[in-house]
């Protein structure tokens, strides 16, 4: 499965390129608008082309991400996918109660994290050693909150609450709680 770092890089590049383009456009517009105009008018075709472009962009964005970000279809169809490992986790009084001290997963296994809260709304996120995020979900009391994830790289990950639950929630993390073992290969789902 494509790592979330790759997706983030892709997003960073796309958004940076867009920002530079729109900054350049507005700079050019701001300059040109103070200059005397040449003859001729802009045709309405430009307007309708722009509207069409926006519609195509708005619709295609989610179709593209659904087909290129592997966890998107897994997430929507997770109830039909059999997990290799299931971890039942409880969040209560600003603490995570794990089924074992370390949650060990083999590379390419599909792990299902089932988290319930007994009091407040929390978050459940996995973070790499460099603090970057692997994934996160919300943990709402009174509901089952589950996420299915396939790890294709060995690593050690920290669990951290990703939702504000009052000042006491700041320290809600379990360092190096998830260990993924095995070898990285290019195997896909």
């Amino acid at each position: 499965m494509v790592d979330s770092t790759v997706v983030l890089w892709g997003q960073t590049l796309a958004y940076t390129f867009y920002c530079l383009a729109i900054l350049a456009l507005m700079g050019w517009f701001g300059y040109k608008i103070t200059r005397r105009r040449r003859q001729g008018v802009i045709k309405n075709t430009l307007f309708y082309s722009f509207v069409t472009f926006l519609i195509v962009l708005g619709v295609s964005l989610h179709i593209i991400t659904y087909h290129t970000i592997p966890w998107a279809p897994i997430d929507l169809n997770r109830s039909e996918i059999k997990a290799d490992k299931v971890f039942d986790i409880v969040a209560e009084k600003h603490q995570f109660i794990l089924p074992a001290e370390k949650l060990v997963i083999k590379c390419h296994e599909k792990a299902l994290f089932k988290v319930i809260s007994n009091d407040l709304t929390y978050g459940f996120g996995l973070f790499r050693q460099d603090n970057s995020m692997v994934f996160q979900m919300q943990v709402v009391p009174g509901h089952m909150n589950d996420i299915l994830w396939q790890f294709d790289k060995p690593g050690i990950y920290t669990i951290r609450s990703t939702e504000y639950s009052g000042p006491a929630g700041v320290d809600m993390l379990v360092k190096d709680a998830v260990i993924v073992t095995g070898e990285e290969t290019s195997q896909n789902n």
Partner: protein, 537 residues
């Protein structure tokens, strides 16, 4: 005039508060209160920026989160609502060429928003009540972390603001439809149809087009006000719900906090809150762009009927997009995530894109234009939304939300760029445009300060959003604290950008005070000597 004389009497002593009508005074009071609360929000923001670099020993983390709770509410209700409501209470009668229905009710709106904001801000400051704008159930009623009395006053303050908001809604709609003394009976039904975009929509299917009875900016105000009303009702209802728990706790009863479904509450609350973020803000801003573009150019708006329909679409969209805030809630039905969270949300790219294009085209058609303050701030506002809306569309995606939700990305490139660059620069454009009209021709003290204000606001806002966004892409959460300096490079750069915003605001505030003089600012708050309902003398 020397510096002291200018400080006391304004630039060249031109500004005379005694010459102002009650409407001018009321509007300027809104602006002054809004700017004072903007100062609150900027200073709070700067404290939080510094705290994210290195926790300040004299400020406990509870205080930090209390500031974080009050900050957006002071910014949105205390500042933006004040400035926007003041401007619209002036502009709607100005554009309709009739008096405001009730100046008294307008002043009540200002009083309630001003006092309400002070009450909730002060209560948070003293008691550290910090559920972060009442997200999520049962956190607002978690009395193990928060003071019941503090929370009670906090919610009461919010309720006062909402009451003032409802008065604003009444005043706007009454102004649209009422018949002033001595006038021929106004066609209130037809006015409402035009204001709500129904006429524009039905004109699509008619050969003979029905004449619009209200101008496009007034239609934008009317439609945005629908979301204002809904939002006020939701916030009031939610406030009452929390108050019930608080009053029960004060009386010694412990209501079962789990009696309310947390996910249902979250849906309810986001439906209401999104009427601000994805509703009235976008509609009001689009309306203000259209107004400013036509006023600056003196030309008719390009594609006016399309713009009217786009506003109506945006209004309907704003009722149906809330689920993009719940894409990471696994119990939320998938159909809501896809339809409301992704697909309908993508319409905002289209409606805002249309407003962007139409405004730019209208300006373009009138070139050459002088790069005066209203125009340059308007371009800044357009740029802000051009940057922030796509950032929002990206995070409103099931795949990307999994790695962006609740990170600094959301609050940086999306929220702060939208507010500080998009919304605030649009408001500054309106303020610079209306300043000579509302002050009967007062002269701006310094154009150099206005230029500095522009660049500081633009670079500070874009820079802060960008560095927060970079931190978010590297995993830094919002609403959290990192005491080991994990993201310090980005946070230092964001703090430097934030300080530019603060300096820009101080330059603007100083410029305005020096333009009207200290005595002039005080004079705005004294009763008008002119007994008239006219807008201008």
């Amino acid at each position: 005039m020397n510096f002291i004389q200018t400080f006391l009497h304004g630039e060249e002593g031109v500004f005379k508060p005694d010459s102002m009508t009650p409407m001018q005074k009321m509007t300027l009071r809104f602006v002054v209160v809004g700017l004072v609360y903007y100062a609150f929000a900027v200073i709070e923001g700067m404290i939080m920026r510094l705290y994210e670099v290195q926790p300040i020993p004299s400020i406990p983390s509870k205080q930090f989160f209390a500031i974080m709770t009050a900050h957006p509410l002071v910014g949105i209700f205390g500042s933006t609502y004040s400035i926007v409501f003041g401007a619209f209470l002036f502009l709607v009668p100005f554009l309709m060429k009739k008096p405001l229905w009730s100046i008294k009710l307008g002043n009540w709106t200002l009083g309630l928003i001003g006092v309400g904001t002070l009450v909730f801000w002060f209560s948070g400051f003293i008691t550290h009540y910090a559920p972060l704008y009442t997200l999520y159930w049962p956190l607002p009623a978690d009395f193990t972390q928060f003071s019941v009395i503090g929370g009670t006053f906090f919610i009461t303050g919010i309720a006062l603001v909402m009451l003032g908001t409802i008065f604003f809604v009444i005043n706007i709609y009454k102004t649209l439809t009422y018949t002033p003394d001595g006038w021929a009976q106004q066609p209130s039904k037809e006015i409402l149809k035009s204001a709500l975009g129904i006429t524009a929509f039905s004109n699509l299917f008619r050969k003979k087009k029905t004449e619009q009875l209200v101008s496009l900016p007034v239609a934008a105000v009317a439609q945005g006000t629908v979301d204002v009303a809904f939002n006020a009702a939701i916030i009031l209802f939610t406030g009452v719900l929390i108050l019930v728990y608080m009053v029960a706790a004060l009386l010694g009863f412990d209501l079962k906090s789990s009696a309310i479904d947390a996910l249902l509450y979250k849906n309810w609350f986001w439906w209401g809150l999104d009427l601000v973020a994805d509703g009235l803000v976008l509609i009001f801003v689009a309306g203000t762009w259209y107004l400013l573009a036509t006023l600056i150019t003196g030309k008719k708006l390009y594609m006016e009927n399309v713009a009217r329909i786009a506003l109506l679409v945006e209004l309907v969209v704003s009722w149906t997009v809330w689920s993009h805030h719940l894409l990471s809630d696994q119990a939320q039905p998938g159909i809501l995530k896809v339809v409301s969270g992704e697909m309908v949300t993508a319409f905002e790219l289209i409606t805002q894109g249309l407003a962007f294009f139409i405004t730019l085209y209208t300006l373009w058609s009138a070139r050459p234009l002088k790069m005066a303050n209203p125009l340059k701030f308007l371009l800044g506002g357009l740029l802000g939304f051009a940057l922030a809306v796509p950032a929002g569309i990206m995070q409103a995606d099931i795949g990307l939300n999994r790695i962006l939700h609740n990170t600094q990305w959301v609050i940086g490139p999306h929220v702060h760029v939208a507010i500080l660059v998009g919304l605030t620069m649009t408001l500054y454009s309106a303020i610079y445009f209306l300043f000579p009209i509302l002050t009967n021709g007062a002269k701006l003290y310094s154009q150099k300060l206005a230029n500095f204000h522009f660049w500081a606001q633009l670079l500070g806002g874009v820079g802060m959003g960008a560095f927060m966004g970079m931190a978010g892409l590297h995993g830094m959460l919002r609403r959290s604290l990192y005491i080991d300096g994990e993201f310090n490079t980005y946070m230092v750069l964001a703090a430097i950008s934030g300080s530019l915003l603060l300096l820009g605001f101080l330059a603007f505030f100083f410029n305005i005070v020096m333009s009207v003089g200290f005595n002039g600012v005080i004079g705005i708050f004294s009763p008008s000597k002119l007994k008239t309902k006219d807008l201008l003398p």
